[in-house]
Symmetry: C2
Subunit: 305 residues, 2 copies
DNA sequence: ACTTATTGATGCCGTTTAGGTATCAAAAAG
DNA sequence: CTTTTTGATACCTAAACGGCATCAATAAGT
């Protein structure tokens, strides 16, 4: 089906007069008559009941009018949006990350986005979960990335991808050559954990995991985020973490994913925000999300957090 | 913009290879290259970043891919539905009415529908409100019409039009020549009312109206629906009713609307019902609803019932 | 009852557009 | 350095689309 034909149909359906419709469409009556006849042929449906003196819609026509209007409106909206997005030269996008996502997924998301939208200036903010949501509501941020799923009043959200959850090990460790380990195998290990911050979803999740699996790891060495890999590197224990940038920093450490455990990462945005760069980011994220759905059973399935 | 071009774009965006895409589209590579170039020209946006050896999407392209897929899917769905609707020859639609709507609005709705969909066989059912909803849920009815607004779990609803609420008067009555009356003017009249049935929204509304306006009409002569106009005709009093078929039955009576009072009529249907005739009815009703929004402040605004 | 005006349908023609063939230039692979 | 693969270009043909003239049917005016 052809949108231009559909548009012509809508005009005729509204005017119920071929001559006037043709004038509105900037053409003459005969080709319009043939155009409508062609549309009816294509669809295999009579759209108008016409005598030489009056035109009226058939039931099928009534339906096509209603739906056709919507499709045309949507296509035109799309066209405008595409123009708007392409016109972005020095557009700006204010992006907020929760700490966990900031450390783990930032290069994946931002690097690929920059490649696609090289002219968009990105402002990156590392924020706690509640301040991130507040910033989105107030328009301070255009888009946010947080771990877990999001259901916040007034904000829209989607899952971007699932980050693999695993252990950071010293390279000499017996697990370091394995492709993956079971959570239950960590019972004998010394786990290095960072202190809990406000609204720290990752921290809560780790504790929940241990409680649910019945594992009581030997020692908790409280540390901060940045020094965890250092302590692992010097053999003080292993650290529960997310596959991310950390693993590359210390070549003395190795990341091994835990079987069937992953942490979803979500995009969050304010649906009232009209920044065209935001639309670009959202479609970009949607495209990638479709590609990544292949591995790892989502943590969400077993644990609602 | 042209849907066929958009379809071609989507294929290229998915394949990222002009030759293969052309094959999928059943054409050769050169026209496809020109077609995409033309689309980029139309939209004033670069959609692909291409070297002679590799094609990749630009940010704008990513956006257009996501949105374009949806529009194409919708257009194709529309095409199928139109074919389905037009294919209805001996299709059937089971329609249920509440008593009030049955008496007042049936010819308006059904008559016009029959004109549009002459080949659809209609089965009409007069049902109480709860049995009507139950029937819709069970698939016994395809569509229902009731007075008031509807918010029922599992059912979809829309307002069709607003029925004028008014008084049925003997022709000799002093109000009979007026264009409209105020509700407050009815304080001195003898009101003829029918007995209340189960879930009788109309009946409840009338009582609510009197209570809210502080009017206490002289006498309630209990009667049944059918004999109300008879009693009016012989001068026993006036009857509160809806502009409908009744007024035509007895030439001795006259209907006069009450200012700013009307009763909305809603369509209700089961969103899971796939009967193509239902889609026809819904678009038909939507078309008419758009036309009728002009008169009468809706009763709903003052009275939620 | 007859004429007139208006409406949608049809036949014919020219222009525009879309697709096909042949070929080119650039870049990766051997 | 040759071969292969890729998207771009030039040129041609055919179908589509729109315009003009005209017809047939019907409602309105006389």
């Amino acid at each position: 089906m052809d949108l231009s034909k559909l548009k012509a149909f809508v005009v005729v359906a509204e005017e119920l007069n071929f001559r006037r419709s043709a004038e509105i469409l900037g053409m003459t009556q005969p080709p319009l008559t043939r155009l409508i006849a062609g549309l009816e042929d294509d669809l295999g449906a009579k759209l108008f009941e016409r005598t030489t003196r009056q035109v009226k819609l058939t039931g099928t026509g009534v339906f096509l009018l209603k739906e056709g209007r919507e499709i045309i409106a949507r296509a035109e909206k799309l066209e405008h949006e595409v123009r708007a997005i392409s016109r972005i030269k020095g557009g700006a996008l204010s992006v907020a990350f929760s700490t966990t996502v900031f450390l783990a997924s930032l290069p994946k998301i931002i690097g690929a986005f920059q490649e696609r939208f090289p002219k968009v200036t990105l402002q990156l903010h590392q924020e706690s979960r509640p301040r991130l949501f507040a910033g989105l509501r107030q328009g301070q941020f255009d888009v946010g990335f947080v771990e877990g799923t999001v259901e916040e009043e007034g904000l829209a959200a989607d899952t971007v991808h699932d980050e693999a959850l695993g252990v950071l090990l010293p390279k000499q460790h017996s697990f370091a050559r394995r492709k993956q380990v079971e959570l239950s195998e960590l019972g004998d290990e010394t786990i290095i954990l960072h202190p809990r911050r406000d609204n720290d979803r990752f921290h809560d999740t780790v504790h929940l995991l241990f409680r649910q699996s019945g594992i009581k790891p030997k020692v908790y060495v409280k540390s901060d985020w940045e020094s965890c890999p250092v302590l692992v590197a010097i053999g003080k224990g292993v650290s529960l973490t997310i596959l991310g940038t950390q693993q590359c920093v210390f070549p003395e450490t190795k990341f091994v994913p835990i079987r069937q455990l992953s942490l979803p990462v979500s995009v969050v945005w304010n649906p009232e925000n009209t920044n065209p760069a935001l639309k670009g980011m959202l479609s970009f994220v949607a495209e990638n999300a479709a590609l990544r759905r292949k591995n790892a059973v989502c943590l969400e399935e077993g644990l609602k957090f």
